[in-house]
């Protein structure tokens, strides 16, 4: 498990949203095979953006309230927040550069 990725509960997640960094959160579960394929991509992003973006993973079985809040109906789903606001939703598998482009566009502003 990578040190650059956080695994927040509801209050920790809310604190991340209020923080000064953009937040990328990957909703996943143990039993979801595509989620496990996305895992290494999220870890890459965590390392690449360490200190600039809060990269988080939320297990939908352990944090059902967060999954319900964002009406997650298919996993993996990756949400990207900037200044607490949802700016991007990616349902399903994507290549790393799809997320990177969104993050770069936020950071460059």
């Amino acid at each position: 498990m990578s040190a650059s990725i956080v695994h927040p509960n509801v209050s920790e997640f809310d604190a991340l949203l209020k923080g000064d960094k953009p937040v990328l959160v990957d909703f996943w579960a143990e039993w979801c095979m595509p989620c496990r394929m996305l895992g290494p991509v999220i870890e890459q992003l965590g390392e690449k953006y360490a200190g600039r973006v809060a990269v988080a993973k939320v297990n939908v079985d352990e944090q059902p309230d967060l999954a319900a809040r964002y009406r997650i109906q298919s996993i993996p789903t990756v949400l990207i927040f900037n200044k607490g606001e949802l700016v991007d939703t990616q349902v399903g598998l994507r290549q790393a550069d799809v997320y990177a482009k969104v993050l770069d566009s936020i950071i460059d502003k």
Binding site: C32, M33, V41, Q73, S74, A96
Partner: protein, 285 residues
């Protein structure tokens, strides 16, 4: 995770078998994944492949397969659900197991499936293609399975077993293997209904309220199979080297476009395998 192989070939038709044979001939380790029956099996008579004439499609496929088997290639039956390009390798979700490969050749044929109204816009908002991936999110909720693939019954039984209130829609009569408490409707889904999220599905003249719909087709659209894969009119875009826009990912046969013929498929399989082998040699050096 199993040991990384050189080349994963997806599809057991003429293009896939040709690719596998030629990849082995270049000393590469190969696994071939095949969802099942090939349309060629059903051709009564094949007359447009040079050197083989007045031969049945089944007989021809048998010869292709024997050739592959003589080189130690045994098609592995099962469904490839996703392929994830990682930059330096690929992760392949083969029926719930992750296989790692340096290069991938798609020889997946043509998906006859047409998207129905509402399907694309509500994908991930109640529409799913994978019961084992998303099923748990529908525990204690209503879901409808539209079964267009042979494994749909099994998947429906699975959803029921984890606590989804599920019904199956499929053509023909109620399948015997379907658990007796699961409702069955004979027919086809013509529309997915919902604004932000799925609320219902139309089957014939009836509207069935549901929280989710699992559309289980034998063939998955190429773009849904590999994130970032470029297609044109449903066919995978390739160069003359049979390379897609993703490095290390090749395609061959009907999935790349017309003419949908055996000789073209076999030729493309050869080209794809040669270039995949070159790609691997280059990235190793």
């Amino acid at each position: 995770m199993s040991e990384r192989i050189d080349i994963a070939v997806i599809g057991g038709g003429p293009a896939g078998l040709s690719a596998a044979v030629n990849a082995v001939a270049r000393g590469k380790s190969v696994r071939l994944f095949s969802a099942g029956e090939n349309p060629l099996e059903k051709a009564e008579n094949v007359d447009n492949y040079l050197g083989f004439y007045k031969i049945s499609g089944a007989e021809m496929m048998q010869k292709f397969r024997l050739h592959a088997e003589s080189l130690g290639i045994t098609p592995e039956k099962g469904r490839v659900v996703n392929i994830m390009p990682m930059g330096d390798r690929f992760l392949i979700n083969f029926g719930g197991n992750i296989v790692e490969a340096s290069a991938v050749i798609l020889a997946i044929g043509v998906a006859k499936a047409k998207e129905i109204p509402g399907e694309g816009v509500l994908l991930g908002r109640g529409v799913s293609y994978c019961a084992t991936c998303d099923g748990m999110l529908y525990r204690n909720k209503n879901a409808l399975v539209w079964g267009l693939a042979p494994d749909a019954v099994e998947e429906t039984n699975f959803l029921s077993s984890i606590g989804v209130k599920v019904m199956l829609v499929a053509k023909g009569e109620r399948p015997e293997e379907l658990n007796s408490q699961i409702p069955f409707i004979s027919g086809a889904v013509s529309e997915v209904v919902g604004e932000d999220f799925v609320t219902a599905a139309r089957v014939g003249d009836d509207i069935h309220r549901t929280d989710g719909i699992f559309i289980l087709r034998s063939a998955i659209a190429p773009a849904a199979l590999v994130p970032g894969l470029e297609t044109e009119k449903g066919y995978i875009k390739v160069s003359r080297d049979m390379e897609t826009g993703i490095a290390g990912l090749y395609a061959a046969g009907d999935c790349t476009g017309t003419p949908l013929q055996i000789s073209k498929a076999i030729g493309e399989g050869l080209i794809a395998a040669q270039n995949a082998a070159k790609f691997i040699d280059k990235s190793k050096s």
